[in-house]
C-alpha cells in the first residue's frame, strides 16, 4: 500500500490542527501526547507537538496529513517533514499582528519544497479580523512575484479545507479530472 503526504504549515493559531481534523478520516493525533497505551512506542526524543491525520483513498492508498509545529524554533524539523510530500497547505492567521510577515516567512522557509511541488494558501480567522482582506494578500503576492491560490478559509469547515487542497492539486496538475 502506497503512502503519500500533504503538509500543513503556518504560524501558531492558524488552524492547522483544525484543518487536518476537518478532512481526516481518522481522529487526529498529536504525536507527543499519545494515549497512555501508546507510551511504549514513544521515542525518547519526541518532544514536539505535531498533528497527524489521514485520508484513505478508494484504491487503498493513504494520504497522510502532517501539521508542522507552528513555532519557529522547530523549523529544523520542516525539511525532514516535507521530504516526499505532494505539496504544501499554508494557513495564515489573519488575526495576528503581521500576517504578511508570517506569509513571507513560511513561503521563504519552504521555498525549495514549493518550487518542486506547490502551495495553496488559506487565510483563517477572517471572522475575527476582516483586514487585511484577501485582495490585500493577492496584491502582496503579486508584488513578490508569487502565484498561488489564496482563499479565505474557516478551518472548521471541511468544505473550505477541501477546496483549498483541491486547488493545490489542480495547480500541480490541471489535467486531473474535475
Amino acid at each position: 500500500m502506497k503512502n503519500h503526504k500533504i503538509i500543513f504549515t503556518g504560524p501558531v493559531g492558524a488552524g492547522k490542527t483544525t484543518a487536518i481534523s476537518s478532512i481526516s478520516d481518522e481522529p487526529i493525533v498529536i504525536t507527543d501526547e499519545m494515549a497512555t497505551d501508546m507510551t511504549a512506542r514513544k521515542k525518547a526524543n519526541t518532544t514536539v507537538a505535531m498533528d497527524y491525520g489521514v485520508m484513505n483513498l478508494d484504491d487503498g492508498q493513504r494520504v497522510h496529513l502532517y501539521g508542522t509545529p507552528g513555532q519557529e524554533r522547530f523549523d529544523f524539523m520542516w525539511d525532514i517533514l516535507v521530504e516526499g510530500g505532494v505539496g504544501l497547505i499554508l494557513l495564515v492567521n489573519n488575526s495576528r499582528s503581521d500576517p504578511f510577515r508570517d506569509l513571507e516567512f513560511f513561503i521563504r522557509s519552504f521555498e525549495s519544497f514549493i518550487g518542486k511541488t506547490g502551495v495553496a494558501i488559506g487565510v483563517t480567522r477572517m471572522d475575527e479580523k476582516a483586514q487585511p482582506r484577501i485582495k490585500d494578500y493577492q496584491h502582496y503576492m503579486e508584488k513578490k512575484g508569487w502565484m498561488a491560490p489564496v482563499f479565505e478559509v474557516d478551518a472548521r469547515q471541511p468544505r473550505d479545507v477541501s477546496l483549498l487542497v483541491q486547488s493545490l492539486l489542480c495547480s500541480l496538475d490541471p489535467g486531473i479530472d474535475d
Binding site: 483544525t18 487526529i28 503576492m141 479565505e152 492539486l169 479530472d177 474535475d178
Partner: protein
C-alpha cells in the same frame, strides 16, 4: 473536588489547567485516582478503548465527555456531554453539572445501586461512542477551551467566534449545462449576442457601475432593478438582495431594458433599512451574476486566440464554484494559453472556459495579451505539469475530497 483527565491532548490540558486555576482557585484538584468526576476526550487515538477501560474500573463515576462528534446522552446518565468546539462558559456549565451529579452520587452511595442500572449506564455510553464513531461525518475540529483573556500563553488559543458567511456553494455539471444550453428557463438570446455579449447591458454590469459609484462616494446605494431592490455597502463590501435566488438568476441572465434600473445613493453615514435575506459579498454577487449573464459567451471584443493571464485565483471558498473552474484557474495562472487552447488541453467544453473568463473579467482578474504585445510577465514558476504517474493519485484524492463535500451539501 477531585478531577481526573483522560485522553486529553497537551493543549487542552493546559487550557483546562488555566481555566480551573482562574475560575475555581483551588476548589478543584487534578488527581490520578479516586476522582469525583472525569473529563474524557474520546477523539484521540483509541479514545473508545480508554473510555471503556475507565468505565470498567469506575462504573458509577460522572464523566464529562468531549467529542467533535454528535452524541445523544440520556439525561439520567452520569454523563455530561460537551461537543467541541466549546467555549469557556460551556465548559464551566459542564463542570457544574458534573459536580452536582457527583455530589448526588456521593450522597446516595450508601444505597447499593442496582447493578443492572450501572451496567446499563456504562453500556449506553460505550454504545453511543461506538455508534457515533462508526457513522458520524467529520464535523467541527478539536478546539481549545476559551482561555482567560489576560493569559499571554493562551492568546493564540481563542476559539473561533462569530458567523462565517457561507459561500454560495457550487453548480453541478447538469446545472451548468442547462445554463450553457440556455435551458434553464431564461429568455433566449438575440442573434447578435449568440457568441458575445455586452456585460454593461446585464445585471453584473449594472452592479459594477453602481458599486463603483457607491465606493467613490463612500455611501450605501440602493438599486432597483424592475421591482427588485438591491442594497450595496461599499464599506462592508456586501450586498443584500430583496429577491429569491431564481429571480436573481433570471434577472442576471437577460439584458436589462432602459428604465429598468433606478439608483439611489444614500447620504454619507446614512444607513438604509435592511433588506430581508442574508448579506452576500459584492465579489460573490458580481461573479455569480456575470456567470449567469455570460451563459457560455464572451464579452464583446475578446480575442479568442491570444494568451490569457489570470492575475489571481478567484476566492473559491467564497464565490460560486462551477465545473472545471479550478482547473481553468490553474491553467491561466500557471501557464499562458489562449481561451480555445485551454479548452483543448483540458478537454472541456469551451463554453466553460468562456464562462470562467467572463466571470473573472467582471472581477478584473484576467488580462489578455494583445497580438502585438509580448508577454512581459513570466509565469512564476516554469515547471512542467505533474508527471502522469501522480495523476492517478491526485484523482484519487480529488474524488475522496469531493465525495465528502457532496455528502455534506446534499
Amino acid at each position: 473536588m477531585r478531577v481526573f483527565l483522560l485522553g486529553l491532548g497537551e493543549q487542552l490540558q493546559n487550557s483546562l489547567n488555566f481555566l480551573f486555576d482562574s475560575t475555581y482557585r483551588g476548589e478543584y484538584v487534578f488527581v490520578k485516582q479516586d476522582a469525583d468526576f472525569s473529563i474524557v476526550d474520546i477523539d484521540n487515538y483509541d479514545g473508545k478503548k480508554l473510555l471503556r477501560d475507565h468505565h470498567s474500573e469506575n462504573p458509577s463515576q460522572v464523566i464529562i465527555l468531549l467529542s467533535v462528534k454528535e452524541m445523544e446522552v440520556q439525561s439520567d446518565a452520569n454523563i455530561v456531554y460537551l461537543r467541541k468546539p466549546f467555549s469557556k462558559e460551556q465548559m464551566v456549565t459542564a463542570i457544574e453539572q458534573a459536580s452536582n451529579k457527583a455530589k448526588v452520587l456521593a450522597e446516595t452511595s450508601s444505597i447499593p445501586p442496582s447493578e443492572g442500572l450501572i451496567q446499563q449506564d456504562s453500556e449506553q455510553v460505550i454504545q453511543h461512542a461506538d455508534q457515533n464513531q462508526e457513522t458520524a461525518a467529520r464535523t467541527e475540529p478539536i478546539a481549545d477551551v476559551a482561555p482567560h483573556a489576560a493569559h499571554p500563553a493562551h492568546v493564540e488559543h481563542r476559539p473561533y467566534v462569530g458567523n462565517i458567511q457561507k459561500a454560495t456553494l457550487a453548480i453541478s455539471k447538469e446545472d451548468m449545462l442547462q445554463i450553457l444550453e440556455n435551458n434553464d428557463g431564461a429568455m433566449a438570446v438575440s442573434a447578435d449576442e449568440e457568441l458575445e455579449y455586452s456585460p454593461q447591458r446585464y445585471l453584473s454590469g449594472a452592479l459594477l457601475r453602481a458599486y463603483r459609484r457607491a465606493a467613490k462616494n463612500g455611501c450605501q446605494l440602493r438599486l432597483k432593478v424592475r421591482d427588485c431592490a438591491i442594497l450595496l455597502d461599499p464599506i462592508k463590501k456586501q450586498a443584500w438582495l430583496d429577491m429569491d435566488k431564481i429571480k436573481a438568476q433570471s434577472l442576471a441572465s437577460i439584458p436589462l431594458e432602459k428604465g429598468w434600473i433606478e439608483q439611489m445613493l444614500l447620504d454619507k453615514g446614512q444607513t438604509s433599512e435592511p433588506l430581508p435575506g442574508s448579506a452576500i459579498s459584492i465579489e460573490a454577487l458580481i461573479w455569480e451574476t456575470a456567470l449567469y449573464g455570460a451563459r457560455g459567451r464572451l464579452p464583446k471584443g475578446t480575442l479568442l486566440d491570444c494568451p490569457v493571464k489570470l492575475k489571481h485565483w478567484p476566492n473559491f471558498t467564497r464565490v460560486l464554484l462551477f465545473p472545471e473552474a479550478m482547473r481553468i484557474s490553474a491553467m491561466f495562472s500557471e501557464h499562458t494559453y489562449s481561451l480555445t487552447k485551454t479548452a483543448e488541453l483540458l478537454r472541456i467544453d469551451v463554453r466553460c472556459v468562456y464562462s470562467f473568463y467572463s466571470a473573472a473579467y467582471a472581477l478584473g482578474l484576467v488580462s489578455i495579451c494583445q497580438p502585438d504585445k509580448t508577454i512581459t510577465e513570466k509565469p512564476i514558476r516554469e515547471k512542467p505539469l505533474a508527471a502522469p504517474r501522480k495523476r492517478n493519485l491526485f484523482n484519487g484524492i480529488l474524488k475522496r475530497l469531493k465525495t465528502s463535500i457532496f455528502s455534506e451539501e446534499s
